[in-house]
Amino acid sequence: MIRVWLTTAYYELVKYGRMKSVLVILIGLPLLLILLLGSAFDTDLKPAKVALYVADQGELSGSIGEFWNGEAIKPFVFVLKTDSGQEVEDYVTEGIADYGVYVPADFSQKVLAGEKAVWKTFSGRYAEKNVAADAVIGRYMAELNLKFAAMATLGTDAPVRIGNADARRQSLVAIGNLGNTEDRLFGETSAMQYYAAAYLIMFLLFSGMSAALALLGQKEDGTLRRLYAMPSSFRAAVFGVVTGAVMLACLQSLVVIVFTKYVYDVEWSGHYLAIAAVCLLTTAAGTGLAIIVASVAGTSKSTQTLFTILVTTMTFLSGGMMAGIQNMVGIASKLTINHWANISLRAIMSGSDAAAAWNAIGVLAAIAAVLSLIAIFRLPKVVMRHA
């Protein structure tokens, strides 16, 4: 029985490996969609490379140095020190740096004399990097103005500190959607994490459909009939066909997780066993649902149509296609497999609430168990011609 099961599962996997269209749809497509949606909504900017030359050796040079070396600006700018103003300009022109800053030699002198004093800046080719660097410099200038306004008002002995003393409490740069709602949309995960989880779940459900389609296809082309005529366990062979699809789903999960981790920098956290459990339960639920649909639909074409509609609807309701929709549809979202799988994965990824993660995994396991049980009862309808 085990020999039949393993043999069938192995050959199923070989067959999937030779169906290029299946591989493209189940593995290539999720990676593409995660990239497109994740990038479109991601608010995490990589630091802008800023070419810097400080010619000023005056009284403010210490605070300027402290500012550019400060921890607070490191998430937003990466400083490339140069030896001249010309070199700053060259770095930006040649694309070595995204932005350039030249602090003139008379900067301190002019500031202390109350004259107009500016840093010479060079914008690069990327607008978002220019905005980030401008914001960082603007912050320093605002604080400098504040200090000298205070000194003018309170006298030169007033205890006013210049620099980034309070920057630890407040971000120097704020970039994002209007109304700054992305935190609410994606919860404690980034957009990339959110969509990586949502699309992994959606495509795992589609992998579940592969099992039902394989069974129906083999019934239609007569190979299942041949398997039934063998002096071996037909149940083991059918289970082998299903296992092949589950193995494909496991492979799909592995590829999506590894690829998104190393290519898109998606942080999946280190709880890979928990992630594997979620993927397996989602696949089991998807396979169960697909077999139930197949037992009603009868043919592979109608099963494919019905199941695709079902999975797409569930993904939409759970916010997998448009973050936030799940809050609008309320209970309908909670009735989907995707909802519980998404919550589980996002909780694992953010590492914030282990109880919430296990609670969602528990619900997902219950859904998978119920669907699998119903599928076992409905399976004869799918595999037996005369059932």
């Binding site: 009939r225 039934y228 002096p231 062979a237 011609r385």
Partner: protein, 314 residues
């Protein structure tokens, strides 16, 4: 006791009786042709024999094993060549045969030998690494056979194995059936092509509306149906006395003539000297004989006579 024994075999769907109390035997070493129009119960009978369908009543024994009590033992003795091309298009020919051989439980070296043997037998060994998607219809049919014979079954069931293929592949398959039989397998062969059954089967069973209406060798069936040989004489002129003399001959059943009287179709009884006698009558009346054709009774006409339908009737 035959290799296969059908005893009061019945199959019902709801209230419809699809197979109606079949009782017959197939002896070891036979090529048994199962004939019947669509809906006669042929496929249902084969499905019950190969364990694909449960019997509503009765039993089938293969090599002394009951399909009801020992289905796996029966299946082990059977190689089923289904009407559909039950092969995997994405696996190579060798992988297809190997997969099914593994499910039959053939181990390591023996498995490799049997897979090669089966592929060689159907003439596909040199294309073993190719996928069926690159094959012609006939080659796919041959692979379909290879997947059923690699375990050297005692009984091979071939359900319409030559549907939709070219004459060359058909001849190859028919020759394969004879060869499998020579090598010791009993074959059950169903086909819509009467001439195939006529050419290769040693015994024939005719099913109609779930009942076995006739079973026997071709000669026995022809005798059962009272079929006779016909002689067609093309002559130069009509001659009334010659016609009367032919009709009066005790070995002649019936004489039909064409409108111009130059063609005579004489249905004869089983008599060894009849042809000689008829030629004597023609000569005696001074009639010139231009052509003589002998028409033997065939299964098609036999089937028509027994069922009132042709094999391809829907």
């Amino acid at each position: 006791m035959g290799l296969i024994t059908f005893r009061d075999v019945v199959k019902k769907y709801d209230t419809s009786l699809i197979v109606n109390y079949l009782n017959f035997k197939i002896e070891e070493g036979e090529i048994f042709g199962l004939l019947g129009p669509n809906g006669a119960g042929k496929s249902t009978t084969i499905n019950m024999l190969s364990g694909l369908l449960e019997l509503s009543g009765g039993d089938i024994a293969v090599d002394g094993r009951s399909i009801r009590k020992q289905p796996l033992e029966v299946k082990r003795r059977i190689g089923l060549v289904p009407q559909e091309l039950a092969i995997y298009e994405t696996l190579t020919a060798r992988e297809n045969v190997t997969f099914f051989a593994k499910l039959y439980g053939l181990p390591g070296k023996l498995l490799r030998e049997r897979v090669d043997e089966a592929l060689r037998f159907v003439g596909l060994l040199d294309r073993a690494k190719d996928k069926p998607s690159t094959y012609s219809g006939g080659m796919k049919r041959r692979l379909n056979i290879a997947c059923a014979i690699m375990h050297r079954p005692k009984l091979i069931i071939m359900d319409e194995p030559t549907v939709g293929i070219d004459p060359q592949s058909r001849n190859h398959i028919l020759e394969s059936v004879r060869e499998l039989n020579r090598l010791g397998s009993t074959v059950i062969y169903t086909s819509h092509y009467m001439e195939e059954v006529d050419a290769i089967c040693s015994r024939i069973g005719i099913l109609d509306q779930g009942k076995l209406i006739a079973v026997g060798t071709k000669e026995e069936l022809k005798r059962q149906a009272g079929q006779a040989e016909r002689l067609v004489f093309e002559i130069d002129r009509r001659d009334e006395p010659a016609l009367a003399e032919m009709e009066g001959h005790p070995g002649v059943k019936r004489v039909e003539e064409s409108d111009d009287g130059r063609t005579l179709i004489v249905t004869v009884k089983d008599s060894p000297s009849i042809l000689q006698d008829l030629l004597f009558i023609i000569q005696k009346h001074g009639i010139a004989l231009r052509q003589l054709t002998r028409i033997e009774p065939n299964l098609e006409s036999l089937f028509l006579q027994m069922t009132g339908r042709t094999l391809r009737d829907e």
